[in-house]
């Protein structure tokens, strides 16, 4: 597992020449893919959150909202993640 992961991560440095311009479609994907993939992974994290069972899923939704607002407001990664995770833990452990 370690070997395969390491190989895949070093592969781009092996196949592309440092000095040369990258192919246009690679630079395009480098710009367009990250926002799409981050959206995909956020949906993946919330795959078991049922919007139809709001009584059970509200802590996730509230804390996602908190993380979003905090990051929009302060743009401090540690603060956004820390505060929303702390709030989530408090809700899950003390209220539910």
């Amino acid at each position: 597992m370690t070997a395969v992961t390491a190989f895949l991560r070093f592969l781009p440095f092996i196949i592309f020449d440092h000095g040369k311009q990258l192919p246009a479609w690679i630079t395009y994907l480098g710009k367009a893919l990250p926002p799409a993939i981050m959206s995909m992974l956020l949906v993946y994290c919330l795959r078991n959150t049922r919007l139809t069972e709001i009584g059970r899923s509200w802590p996730e939704l509230v804390c996602v909202g908190v993380a979003m607002l905090m990051h929009h407001w302060k743009r401090n990664t540690l603060l956004s993640i820390g505060a929303s995770t702390f709030l989530y833990m408090v809700i899950i452990q003390c209220i539910l």
């Binding site: 597992m1 370690t2 992961t5 390491a6 440092h18 479609w25 630079t27 395009y28 994907l29 710009k31 367009a32 893919l33 990250p34 926002p35 799409a36 993939i37 981050m38 959206s39 995909m40 992974l41 956020l42 949906v43 993946y44 994290c45 919330l46 795959r47 078991n48 996730e60 804390c63 996602v64 993380a67 979003m68 990051h71 929009h72 743009r75 990664t77 540690l78 956004s80 993640i81 820390g82 929303s84 995770t85 989530y88 833990m89 809700i91 899950i92 452990q93």
Partner: protein, 143 residues
Amino acid sequence: MKRILKRVFPQTIPVMAGYISLGIAFGLLLQSIGYGPLWAFLMSVFIYAGSTQFLAVELLVAGGLLPFDTTGIDFAMTALFVVLVVEQWKTHRNHLPAIAGFAVTIAALYIFGAERFLIPSLIVISVILMCMKGAIKPEESHK
């Protein structure tokens, strides 16, 4: 090499910040079930697989003691991706890729179910993005 590092390193800072908090969560989680810093370090170096490490923790929980209740700490991963989505939204002026990502993944979640929607989503997203290549010009996709 030094020149490349100088140019590339600043771009990795947002991701690094996310990983630092994820690392803290991972360390806390391991500590909470009685495995010390050395375990956390070795697992991070050798498993080196991001969220899979959190699954490994659940496997170790079998024989654990709990100094404090860590229920819900796994939300750190969701929070990380919320931050990354907001970060991407702010840095790219064209929001089509982000919107396509959400639309395709949510559709795939309903079609394929929660266990097997990730790979189809990835494929469809790549195809759609390649088809939109003409619509998103490089100079307008970045601030």
